[in-house]
């Protein structure tokens, strides 16, 4: 049992920033941002390339986050200047990022097994300390993100997602908000990619495939479970973060649990989908009750 919980927590931990990023685009900005598949790899690739060049892991991590934010900025400009639909803009950027990531990495896979990373010293000391340092880093990202969401800027982002036209009429610069929102969302995805690469020991050009879908699935699941239970408006931002955490944890809890049932991996995603649908159906029924 402890093994299952630990496996679930360690897997969820590295993807929490990604879940927060998807939460931002999907829930607040009301857009499905497919850039995330590419910016996840971008974060991992930039971090791996710079680390293997001998640059400080901390600086490499910051540069990775900046690159993620730039990818989001590009998506926002495609929507704004190019008048491209948000979904299509994300797909296009993700498409472009494939080549960009390859150019940055120089090869499809960068090994980090013997490269100093943000967590390598802690893991060398003990696994517990290693995971504690990962949790600390993710915790800092969560706190920073929560503080941002609770600020006036966070409120403006939420208003932008709800009704950009109204916000524009009130004199707010919606272009700036769009750029800021998508940059932040992809910065979080890049952070997740960089952390994941350090944990799994490599950055790979194909490691982002399907990450957006997993993230959206987990977010929707978490929100269906948590949001109906929270009635107070001032708890909304906190409950959304909790929903992201619960969703991604539940996803990996069920995935790891199914693996322990020795289910043929061919049917694993079928069963995973059915179980998640069962949760969603129940939660929806609960929410629709008077």
């Amino acid at each position: 049992m402890i093994g299952l919980l630990l496996a679930t927590l360690t897997q969820s931990l590295t993807l929490i920033p990604l879940a927060l990023g998807i939460n931002l685009s999907y829930t607040l900005l009301r857009a499905t941002d497919m850039t995330i598949d590419g910016s996840f790899v971008l974060g991992a690739g930039v971090f791996a390339q710079l680390s293997t060049m001998g640059i400080s892991p901390f600086i490499a991590f910051l540069v990775a986050l900046t690159c993620g934010a730039l990818a989001g900025t590009f998506t926002a400009f495609l929507q704004n200047g190019g008048k491209v639909d948000p979904l299509l803009a994300g797909i296009l950027t993700s498409f472009i990022l494939y080549s960009v990531n390859m150019a940055i990495m120089g090869r499809p896979n960068i090994n980090l097994l013997n490269t100093p990373t943000l967590f390598s010293t802690a893991f060398a000391h003990s696994t517990t300390l290693g995971w504690f340092s990962v949790a600390l880093a993710v915790g800092l990202i969560v706190v920073a993100f929560y503080t941002l969401l609770q600020s006036r800027f966070g409120l403006c982002l939420r208003a932008f997602g709800d009704n950009p036209a109204l916000l524009s009429r009130q004199g707010y610069n919606v272009t700036y908000l769009r750029v800021a929102g998508f940059s932040l969302n992809n910065l979080l995805a890049a952070a997740s990619g960089a952390i994941t690469a350090q944990i799994i020991g490599y950055a790979d050009i194909g490691m982002g495939v399907g990450m957006t879908l997993v993230g959206i699935g987990a977010i929707v699941l978490g929100q269906h479970l948590i949001l109906p239970l929270v009635k107070k408006q001032y708890l909304r931002a906190g409950s959304e973060l909790l929903a992201a955490f619960i969703g991604i944890t539940l996803y990996f809890f069920i995935l790891n649990g199914l693996l322990r049932l020795n289910i043929n991996p061919i049917y694993l995603k079928l069963l995973l989908g059915v179980l998640l649908a069962l949760f969603l159906r129940t939660a929806t029924q609960k929410a629709s009750l008077p």
Binding site: A7, N111, L113, N114, I200, G257, T282
Partner: protein, 329 residues
């Protein structure tokens, strides 16, 4: 809320019921050695390697051995969950197949030996881990030299490859090897399987043959290239037996089953007390020429010259038509 809790409890109980199942503990003296095999994607070559590993280890180990085979279906999250699950089962030795699963296992498992099968990693990656490697790659220079020996008059080839870390340096080496032999090798890269059809349709009319290295993505679409080779009556040359079974004319490579056999020998060494990093990286040296007579006929190629050159260079010749009913062992 009650219904939600009921469903949650049901699923949780179902999942937990599967956890912490006692292993075979009837007789502690007979407790089997547990080996975890991690297969990244479904592929006949992976199954061949697994068979070679399991057969050899079962036959040579004096103790009972239990294999836990994990198939990640190309999903990085699933692969990570599988390694964690093996970790919880107190696996004695890990055997990931291919480079990327070996990297992931080495990053996550520090206290157990790992034998990376068909994996290529720098020596530095073996530090701070218990990692032994079986490198299945033969040099592209050997392949190009063999092609040149078979077709001394052909000077224009197209090499189709995918965006894979192992393949890129090999492509450069193949092009350089071709240059020294007066062969021009044009390269075409695919990023996804659907690209293969477009590339097959846009081959240069001067191309006298298509070369495919040991490249999982391209090999999985070898039928597309085979069709083009048949239509244009040009040779399709690969570097593994599986692709020859699926339409390539011939290949110079190693038997996948043998990679598993070599891996099992390394595993046995480790289980007998040798530290994994003290074992040098195992290179596959016994090369074979795999031929598919039907495909060669369809491509208008002469089987005789291939067999003659194989014998001349002391390579074993394997006719895949004969081996098709069973594993190529």
């Amino acid at each position: 809320m009650k219904r939600l809790l009921a469903h949650f409890s049901l699923v949780t109980l179902l999942l937990l019921s599967a956890c912490d199942k006692p292993h075979n503990t009837r007789n502690p003296a007979q407790k089997p050695i547990q080996i975890g095999i991690i297969i990244p994607i479904e592929h006949p070559a992976m199954d061949e390697i697994t068979s070679g590993f399991e057969d050899t280890l079962s036959a040579t180990l004096k103790q009972p051995v239990k294999f836990q085979v994990m198939r990640a279906q190309g999903d990085i999250n699933l692969q990570r969950a599988m390694i964690l699950q093996l970790q919880n089962k107190n696996i004695d030795l890990y055997a990931p197949i291919a480079t990327q699963p070996t990297e992931m296992t080495a990053a996550m498992i520090k206290d157990r030996p790992i034998v990376g099968l068909a994996a290529l990693l720098p020596d530095s990656a073996r530090e701070h881990s218990q990692l032994a490697l079986v490198d299945d790659e033969i040099t592209p220079t050997q392949i190009i030299q063999f092609i040149h020996a078979v077709y001394p008059l052909k000077t224009q080839f197209t090499l189709v490859y995918s965006n894979n870390d192992k393949i890129l340096p090999q492509v450069n080496e193949a092009v350089a090897a071709g240059k020294t032999l007066g062969i021009q090798i044009n390269t075409r890269m695919i990023t996804a399987l659907p690209d293969l059809y477009s590339i097959a349709q846009s081959l240069s009319p001067q191309t006298q043959g298509i070369i495919v290295l040991k490249d999982v993505l391209v090999v999985s679409g070898i039928a597309t290239l085979s069709k083009t080779a048949n239509e244009k009556h040009i040779a399709l040359i690969s570097a593994d037996d599986g692709s020859v079974q699926n339409g390539s004319g011939f290949a110079l490579g190693v038997k996948e089953y043998q990679i598993g056999v070599e891996g099992a020998k390394v595993a046995l060494n480790i289980l007998q007390g040798t530290h994994a990093t003290d074992i040098p990286v195992v290179k596959m040296t016994n090369l074979s020429v795999f031929i598919n007579p039907e495909a060669l006929t369809a491509q208008g190629q002469d089987i005789q010259s291939i067999q003659e050159q194989a014998e001349k260079q002391h390579y074993a010749v394997v006719n895949v038509s004969d081996a098709r009913l069973g594993a190529v062992k």
